[in-house]
């Protein structure tokens, strides 16, 4: 952005060139511009195609069930027809699964990422800060299928299962922690999801925290504040909107995450209040049943995809708007 403020260099006009330069180069310039402009517009075309193609494909389902009927309906009984919609399609169990796993993920990742971001910017020994933040970013590079494998075959049996059993024994009377503990379910999926969105949220919050003006912090220290007071009373209040944006970008990721959730959520088509229960998220249900679906139910899956797309788009656009308003940070980390 900073380069825009300065005057951008301009190529000399053709009239400023001598007759020597009137050759093929004259046509190459507009052609080149055209090529890159067309490439640039491709992004927009792809996005438009995405919306149009999937929505029109899924339209018969929305038409039959009604938009809210589709979102709130509780039974999912795919029909086997090739040409028309014969089954009942209610996406509520999957919407619930998506919501509950994302909420768990945010509940875990938000406090942790704020603390890690503050630690990295204000507490970490100078020599350690960079390698540590690289390591956190490396976590973002781990493919989600590896998170799923590790979660299913190591983390769940060795750590989460004993923890869940204890939790059920102590808090089993509370409806969220009602047994039986089956292993896979909403809670493990949410926890692993929390680990997965931690790096992206940390990266953004760290950027936000790092650009807070040093003068205010110095002033607070000069008034005798402890580091803790500076962090909670000066830095965090000023970073609030950035933290909200980070949480929303994390939420966007969590809503759309497929494979790791699919491997850990259990894949049933019902829903229940207990966090130990099994279910499906929107994305995981699409991926799980797509392979052996009839053409008709693939259309219904497409409808779930459209609903998921709508929600993630709203969340993402809101987050982007907040990030853009902040101005000083690039939001690079979110890529």
């Amino acid at each position: 952005m900073s380069t825009e403020a300065r005057e951008a260099p301009q190529a000399p006009e053709d009239s400023q060139r001598g007759t020597l330069h009137s050759g093929r180069g004259r046509f190459a310039d507009p052609v080149f511009k055209w090529i890159v402009a067309v490439c640039g517009t491709t992004v927009l075309i792809i996005l438009a195609l995405m919306v149009i193609r999937t929505t029109s494909e899924a339209w018969p389902v929305f038409a039959k069930e009604g938009f809210f009927g589709f979102l709130l309906g509780e039974s999912w009984n795919p029909g086997g027809s090739r040409t028309e919609i014969t089954g009942t399609y209610g996406a509520w169990p999957f919407i619930y699964g998506t919501m509950i796993t994302s909420v768990i993920a945010i509940a875990i990742a938000l406090p942790l990422s704020v603390m890690v971001a503050v630690y990295l910017t204000h507490l970490a020994p100078r020599r350690l800060a960079k390698p540590l933040s690289y390591t956190v970013e490396l976590l973002a590079a781990v493919p989600s299928v590896i998170f799923g494998l590790w979660g299913l075959h190591w983390f769940l049996p060795n750590v989460l299962r004993p923890f869940f059993d204890g939790l059920e024994a102590v808090l089993g009377w509370f409806f969220l922690f009602e047994g039986p503990v089956r292993g896979v379910g909403y809670l493990p999926a949410g926890i692993v999801l929390g680990i997965m969105i931690l790096p992206i949220m940390t990266a953004i919050i760290r950027e936000v925290v790092a650009v807070q003006p040093v003068e205010q912090q110095m002033a607070a220290y000069a008034l005798g504040s402890t580091r803790w007071e500076v962090i909670t009373k000066v830095i965090l209040p000023a970073s609030f909107s950035g933290i909200v944006a980070a949480a929303m970008l994390g939420l966007g990721r969590a809503l759309g995450e497929t494979i790791a959730v699919l491997m850990l959520i259990g894949g049933s088509q019902s829903w229940g209040a207990s966090l130990f229960g099994t279910g499906s998220s929107m994305a995981s249900h699409i991926a799980a049943t797509f392979g052996e679906s009839s053409p008709e139910s693939r259309i219904a899956l497409m409808a779930i995809g459209v609903a998921l797309f709508l929600v993630t788009m709203i969340v993402n656009i809101l987050a982007r708007v907040i990030v853009w308003r902040l101005g000083q940070i690039t939001g690079d980390a979110a890529v």
Binding site: T3, Q10, A11, P12, G25, A28, D29, F32, K33, G40, T41, T42, V43, L44, I46, R53, E57, P111, L112, M115, V116, L120, Y134, V136, L138, L139, A141, V142, P143, V145, I146, G148, L149, W150, H153, W154, F155, G224, T226, R227, W228, E229, G252, R253, G256, T258, I259, M263, A283, I286, A287, F290, L301, F309, T312, A319, R320, D332, A334, V335
Partner: protein
């Protein structure tokens, strides 16, 4: 405030500025907070360490030459490997790279060199938005557009590559944009001063100057693309055999095969999944580290 001149009595109304930060509740709070923040950092590191440790421990015994060169037997049986997946991933990634990287860099060139105007702002915004699209939705889109839609291409390498390319495109564009902005205007001015046209300046001066940064961004995008699983499930579909067809035959890939291996009950198949996880992890790690290395070296060289 006005009474702050005398020594404070031991009342609850002592202003903060008159209490020593080095004593009492405030000091304890401060210490506790430091411990808490450090603990949070440690907690955040644990999953990565555990994943690296476990993937290495379970995978190292599985990965050998056979694993890379043989196709997978039925899940119950030991031995064999993910050759089909590796060929598929290589094939799909090659096509996806060919599609997404030139497009992404060209888009960035348009945004940086021909902007800012209304169109570039719109493109930039939607590129940002595109990074947040769920990968499963990209899969559905390509399925609706190419697999059953126009042309009815069916499952195959090409459709899988299109899905991965759509996932990679915004990453390439965003990073390339940042890199092109880092190219100092003096270089452009010098080029114009020598009589170069705009396209010559971009092709011969700006892009070479930004090359290391562009490489970094592209490699990070590739690292992201290699691990994508969900969109491939509905575009390449998966295959246990080596497929060389460009389109029309279901194609396999390492992450898909890994997923299917991990979700079936037989120990031999799960072991192979760990092996594949190790290979995949090493690939991603390699790309990420090399990309960062090129990036950091270039930024030092520029200054």
């Amino acid at each position: 405030m006005s009474t702050a001149t005398t020594t404070p009595p031991a009342s609850r109304h002592t202003p903060l500025s008159q209490r020593s930060p080095g004593s009492g509740v405030r000091r304890i709070k401060d210490r506790a907070a430091s411990v808490l923040l450090t603990a949070a950092m440690v907690v955040a590191m644990i999953p990565l360490i555990l994943i690296i440790f476990e993937v290495t421990r379970r995978g190292i015994g599985v990965v050998n030459l056979d694993f890379l060169t043989q196709t997978e037997p039925p899940p119950r049986r030991e031995g064999g490997g993910y050759a089909a997946g590796f060929v598929g991933t290589l094939y799909i990634m090659a096509l996806a790279i060919l599609m997404s990287i030139p497009f992404g860099i060209a888009t960035a060139v348009y945004i940086v060199e021909y902007g800012p105007n209304r169109l570039t702002r719109v493109i930039r915004f939607f590129t940002d938005v595109m990074t947040g699209i769920p990968s499963i939705f990209v899969g559905l889109f390509v399925y609706g557009l190419l697999v059953i839609g126009w042309g009815g291409l069916g499952f195959g390498t090409f459709t899988g590559a299109v899905a991965i390319a759509v996932m990679m495109l915004p990453i390439v564009t965003r990073s390339a944009e940042e890199m092109l902005r880092l190219v100092p205007n003096e270089i452009r001015n010098a080029s114009y001063g020598l009589g170069a046209r705009k396209w010559q300046t971009i092709v011969h001066t700006v892009l070479p100057a930004a090359a290391p940064g562009l490489t970094t961004g592209s490699m990070l995008a590739v690292a992201r693309g290699i691990g994508e699983t969900a969109p491939l499930l509905m575009t390449a579909f998966g295959s246990g055999l080596i497929v060389t067809a460009f389109q029309g035959e279901a194609q396999g890939a390492v992450p898909m095969q890994l997923y299917r291996g991990a979700m079936q009950p037989f120990e031999a198949g799960i072991d192979r999944a760990w092996g594949a996880a190790l290979c995949l992890f090493l690939l991603v790690l390699l790309f990420t580290v090399i990309a960062r290395w090129i990036g950091s070296r270039a930024s030092v060289g520029n200054r």
